[in-house]
Amino acid sequence: MIAPIQNPPIDHVIDPPLAERFGRTWWIGIGVALLGVLFLLYGLRGPAFVGIGVWGTNIPYVWGFDIASYAWWIGIANGAALFASILVLTGSSLHTAVNRFANGLALGAAICAAVFPVFHLGRPWLAYWMIPYPTAQGVWPQFRSPLTWDFWAILTHLTAIALLWYVGLIPDLATLRDRAKTRTRQLFYGLAALGWRGSARQWALHRRAHRIVALTLIPLLFLAQAIVSFEFVGTLVPDWHETRQPLHFIATGIQLGIAMVLLVALALRRRLGLHRHIDDWDIDLLAKLLLANALVTAYAYLDGWFMELMAEPPIREALLARMAGPYGTLYWGGFMLSVLPPQIFWWRRVRLHWWAGATVAALVLIGIYLDYLSVVVGGLVRTNLMIAAPTYAPTVAEVSLLAGTLGLFLLMVLLSVRRLPIVSLYDTRAEPA
């Protein structure tokens, strides 16, 4: 008995990367992204050639947009990567649908995040001083400082996310190698696929390795996201110097990751017609996850109110200054946008509505940015110095830098959509029908 021959259900995914043309929308997207990259170049020019004086940061606001943006991007990276690695381990069908690009988004966000601490150094060309290598002056990096931990965290984070992504991609690159028609593409995918043949042994090793990399990544991500908050916790600033900060950053970071995955899932599924792979059930589940995580974030806020408003005066006053001071809007905006919009997902019909989902995801992304800005700027509003406290406002250079990383992120997403299978081919087929 011979089973009827069917076209494998993966052509929808293979076709886009191998297509000759990709449509006008993609080129418009690339145009917008390149414009964003121009902003990035402008944003980097200031700190590289003039110094970080071009930013609005000044005592007491030693940190500003740079650190808020960094925390935001690394939050997206950690959240999306955590999501991706848990999916690899559980092997749910949501895994098949969104794992690949959740992982890709995490990688892109981590690259964007890495821009900020390097340029925040003021002398970015000396960034390699963070590496413990024997120097003539005999000075070593200070390993008691969270800033040094963060160097290791970002380095590892970038490498580990790239690994998880690449390990998952190898068999699919081999498929593209074998389906590609032009010599250039055969070479490109062939080199990237490392000679994958899909033998039983290779599949067995691949499955094990993929799961191990995912398993390694999970504690690493919690640690990396906690280390971001340690940079605040490690200072003596009231309200930053709190044991609850890591929890707050982990809750908001995971929420950022899920919101970004939902937003991009909705966009890709609409643009590329991937409804068969990213089906309603997947979108429904993603929306529910965002809702559940919004409740965790709400809990983190509540915990802050209880713990800090009952704490000794300096801590209480610091939190009150964040809530009711000149940057109170940031605090309440952050709270409302990150916690309230997802509540609409209690209704199933809304969860499946593409623009409702996209709007909520975008609002959450904005909300948590405001929250991080509130932590950074609102946390420094009480100077404890005998100076008239000025206010902080970002300069053009800072806004350009943020806009520029958004452009860079978009560029990376668009390029990967153009050339790589955004849904895992082998998982799509290994999935029991």
Partner: protein
């Protein structure tokens, strides 16, 4: 590598063929599929526990090495009194050591996977085979290599009875 390579149209046929040949005493079998088939992984995949050991030992080695570097730089070579805290402030040394452990483990897992699977390679003989490019798309291949149970015409007859789409002999 000499032997026969058979091409099947469905995974079920391939799995059935592997089972039959195993029962007949063939040991040097290999299968090539576009996606992992649990049955084949079990029959032909071999043990993958070495990869777990590679990951775990690399994590230990990476963590220990990083901790040693931190200890030596912060305690021995460049001792600094930071607010009267002990020189060997191990709590502060842990984050970098732990993330390095993860870094080493991840890299070693990729290298281990490739190494144990005979990768990376520029080329493989099987890629010269006409139609083998469909092994990553919609065909399922079974390679029977020359082993004690192998008898060219006998084996070919056995394979033909399993209704493959095509059989090809691999010369020396």
């Amino acid at each position: 590598m000499t032997g026969l390579i058979a091409r099947f149209r469905s995974p079920a046929e391939l799995v059935e063929a592997v089972r039959r040949l195993r029962d007949q005493g063939y040991r040097r079998l290999d299968a090539f599929t576009p996606y992992p088939l649990p049955e084949l992984t079990e029959l032909l995949g071999g043990s993958t526990s070495r990869i777990g050991w590679i990951a775990a030992l690399s994590a230990l080695a990476g963590g220990a090495l990083t901790y040693a570097v931190i200890y030596w730089t912060a305690v021995v070579d460049y001792p600094l009194n930071i607010g009267g805290r002990p020189l060997h402030s191990w709590q502060a040394f842990l984050p970098a050591a732990l993330v390095s452990a993860a870094l080493w483990s991840g890299l070693a897992t990729l290298i281990g996977m490739l190494w144990l699977g005979g990768l990376p390679r520029w080329h493989h003989r099987l890629f010269d085979l006409k139609g083998f490019d469909r092994a990553t798309y919609d065909r399922y291949f079974l390679l029977v290599e020359d082993d004690p149970a192998f008898e060219a015409s006998e084996t070919r007859r056995l394979l033909e009875s399993l209704s493959p789409e095509h059989i090809e002999a691999l010369g020396p």
